[in-house]
């Protein structure tokens, strides 16, 4: 298992891809995709707090919903006003 993780890390490094980071992709102010999260820390329609690799990501907005959520990615929809790291 450790060997496989190490190999994946090596490949990512060779391809200049970030490894072990949380990636946040904003699609305008309507959607935010958070990949590589560590779980949800808080949820209200006005604020979603997501645990990231190095701390928490706080997304403030209006009528926020978790459109889809699985172990790796989280899609937040609504009117996003700010993203705080």
């Amino acid at each position: 298992m450790k060997k496989a993780t190490k190999t994946a890390a090596e490949i990512s490094e060779r391809l200049n891809l970030p490894v072990g980071v949380t990636r946040i992709t904003l699609a305008g102010t309507r959607q935010a995709l958070i990949e590589g999260h560590r779980g949800l820390a808080g949820y209200t329609p006005e604020r979603v707090t997501v645990r990231a690799m190095l701390g928490e990501v706080c997304i403030d907005g209006e009528a926020l919903t978790l459109s889809a959520m699985d172990a790796d990615a989280l899609l937040i929809s609504g009117r996003i006003l700010s993203v705080t790291l």
């Binding site: 779980g39 949800l40 949820y43 978790l66 459109s67 889809a68 699985d70």
Partner: protein, 391 residues
């Protein structure tokens, strides 16, 4: 579309999770491999989300571990429908019986349509079909289409061709009638005048002309004799043939009462009957005959889908309407216009290819009736063949 179909097949459940640690509960669900969709909540202690139907039990357990309550709001998709149906055995049984009956009924021809018959009555063809074994309710896979067509052709000699095709429980019989023989008509005779008038043009194809252009002739007068005289002086009887155009005068009169009897609905009631095959079941007492002074409006509601299948069950809705007739005065102008239209139609019909040169209408009232007279000057073919009387 594909995703929606997949979701429908997999099934989903809309759940409401309530508790103190909603994020923790969501994390627990995700850790269990349960995908959450469309999660939203009115407050920090309640969350509504859509999860796969198969993960419902695991989600409930995970929520319980986080001291949260999971309540199912709605279930969608095939798995939940199947689960509900398992509890409704009678419904399933009925559905199976219905589908079986439908499948079995498609092997029987419940509806037989005849197409292409113009002069031969449809009922005669249907009787011939029934005698050949193709009658409503018969098992159509046992039919021999060629044998049936041949038997119909033998039974109805006016038909030149017949073909049988079956689609579902509906059989279509296409027929072609024999075209009349084009042989010249036999017998001898003369051409007489069909109407009084002045001859404007004569085209005599066969026979001896007895009238000339410009002459006035009376109705029934012989215009072309059905005999010809040879070079040797011998006279031979022939079938005269001619086209004689003449200027004629026609006069038609039509009348109608100035006070018409108008029906007024006094009462009505509805009754029902069911026709299963050839059997009729009335859901009312007494005769199915229409009472005197009443009109029966029948609405047929067959258990069928047009063009696909038909079951031998038809619900009949009979509306019996009773009428009383009351006198109603008619406007003379409107009535005159109606009668004029009728007379003009009659003139056109009786002219049969001729033309109207001039026409005028006159109207008069007498004895409570309106009389309208049409006088017309026409140009028409007045030649009428009159066969010779036998020896």
């Amino acid at each position: 579309m594909r995703a929606r179909l997949e979701q429908l097949l997999r099934g989903s459940a809309h759940v409401e999770i309530s508790g103190a640690d909603i994020p923790g509960c969501l994390n627990a669900l995700v850790r269990e491999g349960i995908e959450c969709r469309a999660a939203s909540g009115p407050d920090a202690f309640t969350l509504r989300a859509e999860i796969p139907y198969r993960s419902l039990r695991a989600a409930r357990a995970a929520a319980a571990r986080r001291n949260c309550d999971l309540r199912v709001l709605r279930e969608r998709g095939l798995p939940s429908a199947a689960k509900k149906l398992r509890r409704r055995l009678a419904l399933m049984f009925t559905a199976v019986i219905m589908f079986s009956a439908l499948a079995a009924s498609s092997f029987f021809a419940w509806d037989i349509d005849v197409a292409g018959a113009e002069s031969v009555p449809e009922g005669r063809i249907l009787r011939a079909l029934a005698e050949a074994g193709a009658k409503p309710g018969s098992f159509w896979p046992a039919w021999d289409a060629d044998a049936i067509a041949n038997r119909v052709l033998l039974a109805v000699p006016e038909l030149a061709w017949a073909g049988v095709s079956v689609a579902g429980s509906r059989a279509e019989v296409r027929v072609r009638e024999r075209t009349p023989s084009m042989e010249p008509a036999a017998g001898t005779g003369s051409i007489v005048s069909g109407a009084s008038g002045i001859i404007e043009r004569m085209e005599v194809f066969f026979g001896t002309p007895l009238a000339a252009v410009g002459e006035a002739v009376a109705e029934g007068e012989t215009l072309v004799a059905g005999s010809v005289t040879g070079y040797d002086g011998a006279t031979e009887a022939v079938r005269a043939s001619a086209r004689i155009s003449a200027r004629t005068a026609r006069e038609y009169t039509a009348s109608a009462p100035l006070e018409a009897m108008e029906p007024r609905e006094t009462a009505s009631h509805t009754r029902w009957a069911l026709v299963i095959g050839n059997k009729r079941v009335n859901f009312y007492a007494g005769s199915s005959q229409t009472p005197p002074g009443c009109v029966k409006i029948i609405e047929e509601l067959p258990l069928a889908v047009e063009g696909m299948f038909a079951l031998p069950v038809t619900l009949l809705r009979e509306c019996i309407v009773e009428y009383a007739f009351e006198p109603r005065p008619c406007g003379a102008d409107e009535l005159a216009a109606e009668l004029e239209a009728l007379l003009a139609e009659r003139l056109e019909r009786e002219l049969d290819g001729g033309e109207t040169l001039r026409q005028s209408f006159t109207a008069r009232e007498s004895g409570g009736r309106l009389y309208v007279t049409l006088r017309a000057e026409c140009r028409e073919d007045i030649a009428v063949y009159l066969p010779d009387e036998g020896p």
